[in-house]
Every structure is written in structure tokens, then in C-alpha cells.
Symmetry: C2
Subunit: 169 residues, 2 copies
Amino acid sequence: MTLRGVARAAGVTQSAPYRHFADRRALVAAVAEEGFRMLQTAMLEAVQKADGRLGLKQIAIAYVQFGHEHPAEYRIMFGPEVARHDELPDLRETSSAVLGFVQVGIERLQAEGLIGPGDPAAMAATTWSMLHGLVMLSLDGQTADVGLSLGQLVNETTRIMMFGMAARA
Amino acid sequence: MTLRGVARAAGVTQSAPYRHFADRRALVAAVAEEGFRMLQTAMLEAVQKADGRLGLKQIAIAYVQFGHEHPAEYRIMFGPEVARHDELPDLRETSSAVLGFVQVGIERLQAEGLIGPGDPAAMAATTWSMLHGLVMLSLDGQTADVGLSLGQLVNETTRIMMFGMAARA
DNA sequence: TTGCCAATGTTAACGGTGTCAACACAAATT
DNA sequence: AATTTGTGTTGACACCGTTAACATTGGCAA
């Protein structure tokens, strides 16, 4: 994504964006933030539609589906340009909300006794790690070697995760 | 990483690298390939040092440790510049060897009956997803919120994974 | 030894990119 | 009516990837 390119796409001069964004990074951060908001609403819908115990699985599916449907946004959201959180407090806040959602799903499962006790933050980080890795793997086309579809992989993955966390009890 | 920058760092003119690499992508791919080889030997040492049943855990630790100690290489290895595998067959081969290592660890565990049966390729993809996500999370400084150290997170993570895969039986 | 040639490096240039300063101008505010 | 604010434009600078044309060096063949 090039700054001059978006200026051209907007039918405007190359330096016009600097009236709206201090920096190239600022533009990228804005795109990332909107992406995080989209992901957040997708996960929210998933968790609302879920009938209780399937919460975490629905969240996982929504997460991976978002990455699959918005690859460019996803790459920007978790790419190296917004990785350094210097001077990007808003973005950091929005991004950690995603992790919070996963954590909510885990806490629900704990409340229902479907998974054992334990630090829900750590479990959420583990779960999120796996989902993120899965999306990256799929986005880079490296899941082609495995004989499973992406949906099957998500199923396998969440199943393993839930059994693993259940075994904690 | 800029092509002219490495030329300067090598004390040579800006266009000299083009005598050794066709492209900027070619240089990046070479760096990535060396990184994959380093990662491969680190995992190999881990698996040789492991006394049987701890194989997968040792591999996971070696993997995360490599990412933590060589963040620049890791980002290049799994970054968007080498993601597209057009015209990079060597790199693809070297990179899939890493996945193969994880798979070997899983097959060992299956042979010992420590985890249940199932497609080892899928299990390896799942495990690798989690490790990759964990490294990324840590490299971007997003593990600071969680109250656990990276080593503890790896332990938690592999434990959950192994219990989850064991539950398949 | 002499001559060729492959490997490597240099110079100079092209288009593209992020960024900034100076200027212009319409809308809103005072 | 005067001024400020927001937005856009022009023009420039330094950097980047890339290429073409030109050197230089070493080893190998005759």
C-alpha cells in the first residue's frame, strides 16, 4: 500500500493525504483500527448468535473467517508496520479488545464447567496464538499441503484446544 | 531492510548486490533460507537432546527460542515478502521441512501412545500454528499484558496441545 | 607468455516513493 | 468584514529498486 497510490485512487494530489494523516504510519494505523473494529463486531455477532456452550468455537470460526475474507486488512492489522506500539495507544486499545473477546469466551466456558480453571488471560493468549497462526498459515497458502480444508482445520484446532484446556481440571 | 543499505554495510556501491542477487526478493529469500536452516538445526539439536517423550516440548521450546533470539530473521522468514511462493521452490522446500519436524515429533508421541491417532499432518499444522502465533505475539510485545513469561506460555501452550491431542484416543 | 573471458564493481541515470515547505482558496467563525 | 481553519496544489528533496554502459581483475586456454 503506497501513500501516493491512495492519493491517486482518491483522485487527489500526492501530498493531500498529509492534511488528514501525519504520517504513512498514521494512515496504516487508521486502516488497522477500522479492521480491528470490523473483527470485533464479527466476533460480537458470533458470540451473540451462539447458544451457550459453542461460544468459543463460534468466535474462532468468526475470527478465521474474517482473516480469510479480508486478507489485506488482516496483514496490515498484524503486520510489522503497526507492531511497534510507539505512539499508537488507540490502536493498542482496540487490538487488545480482540484478545478480550477470546478471553470472554473462555470465561464463559469456565463458568459452565466445560473447561477447567486457570488463568483465562493465559488461555486466551494461547487460543489467540493458534487462531492467528492458522490465519497466517492459510493466507500464505501453506495449508494446501495438509489434506484438510480451512474449516476442518478450525474445527480440529478448537476441538484440540478445548480438550486440552478441559484436561486442566 | 533496504538493498542499498546492505550494499553500504558491505562497503560497496549500491548496485553491486545485483551481481549476486537478481532481485531484492532474491536477497530476502536467501536470508530467509538461511534462517530456515538455522531453525532446522536448532530443532534437530532439540530433538536429539530430548529423551524420548519430551520431544515435542523440546521442539516447541527450540522453535520459540529461535524466534525470540532472531526476530529480524523470523519476521523475514514468515513475512509477506517470501509468503508468495512464486519462483521460490528452494525456499518452499526448506520451509516445509520445519513443518516436517513438528510432524516427526507428533509421530513419535503417537508411536509411544502418548497422544491418540489422527492425521499427524493436521496435528502438526495445528501445533505449528500455535507456535507461530505465540512467537508473533511475543515479537510484537503483546504478551506483556499476560502475566506469564514467554517460557511459561510455551509450557502452558504445549501442555494444552498435548492434552488436547491425547484426548483424541 | 599472451589473449580471452567470466566475475565483480562503478558510474550514471530512470521512475517511484515518503515527506515537507510555500502558496492558494473556500468555508466557517469572530 | 476580517480572520482563522481546513483542505488542496505545486514543487522540491532525499531515498529506494532497477538497469545499462563502462571499468577492472583474476583465472584459463592457446
